[in-house]
Symmetry: C2
Subunit: 218 residues, 2 copies
């Protein structure tokens, strides 16, 4: 492993770094906002600066990744990490705190967008040219956590558009040529159950459900 690219500072994006602390050398690439969130937590100091190079990446500027890849971070509507929220966080801010990654190898492009509160015009342009997209599949229904009693928040309150509904991801991403793969799927999301009506609905709409160990050939 030569590099880690972060799309935000949320626990599910950063806690894994703590298991990479055993003097393994790699580059840690993220926006200034994400690096600042890490720097404010002394526990990430276990990533020894002599071993892990923290490199700040600007939005919408291409940078090289090992293996002949080019990558670019871009703002996606969303919110800052839970532990950085104030009393009334903006849920669809477009900043370096919540980004997607476009990875290019020659003419092939992969988009990775694990958290999106909506699809903006710039994101639409990237979706148009992508060959494959890994996209936010957090909740199927915006209120599913409220409905099943697992939490008081809607998906939109967490900065995620739902899959279902008029304003949902299935509708928003229905028209692209890219292979569309859902990721960042909450454990309440019924698309995780093979054969469920919700799973059949996303499959009928042409979406795949990501799984551990998945290999994507472009």
């Amino acid at each position: 492993m030569a590099a880690v690219v972060l799309t935000g500072a949320e626990v599910d994006q950063t806690a894994g770094l703590l298991t990479l602390r055993e003097r393994q050398s790699f580059a840690l690439l993220a926006t200034a906002e994400t690096h600042a969130a890490l720097a404010a937590n002394p526990i990430f100091g276990v990533l020894d600066a002599g071993v892990v190079r923290r490199e700040t990446v600007a939005l919408n500027k291409s940078f090289a990744l090992p293996g002949g890849l080019q990558a670019e971070l871009f703002a996606v509507p969303g919110k800052i990490a839970l532990y950085l929220e104030g009393a009334d966080p903006q849920l669809d801010a477009e900043t370096g705190a919540n980004v997607g990654v476009e990875i290019a190898c020659g003419l092939r492009r992969l988009l990775y967008v694990p958290g999106a509160a909506g699809v903006t015009a710039p994101l639409h342009q990237r979706l148009l040219r992508a060959d494959a997209v890994l996209f936010d599949g957090t909740l199927f229904a915006d209120d599913e956590m409220v409905a099943n009693g697992t939490g008081p928040k809607t998906g939109r309150r967490m900065g995620h558009m739902p899959l279902d509904g008029e304003d949902g991801t299935l509708a928003a991403l229905g028209a692209y040529k890219a292979r569309r793969i859902l990721t960042h799927i909450n454990n309440t999301n019924p698309i995780l159950i093979e054969g469920s009506p919700e799973r059949r609905k996303v499959e009928a709409a042409g979406f795949e459900v990501a799984e551990d160990g998945m290999e994507i050939v472009l």
Copy 2:
């Protein structure tokens, strides 16, 4: 799960808390030193104060745990967490930053001591009365990480006495009636290999090697 008791603030003791952030209610019991280390890291704010009760425990004072258990934290020689180290950390300090737990149910007592730079007189007294001890088994030889090139530190530099040698754990814990089980075993430690000379040596000395899912009946 009703309670979590921390013996320190090191990554391997605290990072797991980040996966318990899904509005699961429990008591988080630790010394003032350990709670301060958590409080200095905003990321642990994902453990919502309305759901997780942080309770500070004094050393050498019994407190109740759910299920009719009594517990007590006590200082064990060791050092503070890696990310709190200054230039020259004390390696065998006896403070609330590195503790053991004595858990009692009726007349039965279990000791859990995952990090120990030595065996002090008070620890000796607790070992004498214990029925079972889970004890620091980090390294077999003090210099094994240096010798095999995985890192520049000795076990003692990390606040852990080695298993082997005159001043090692096998010698220090040889004379107690308690069932002795080694835990907190580094991935360089050859006792993890069944049938290795080192594994046979610890077994011949009457020690067991802890494993995932182990059940201990007192």
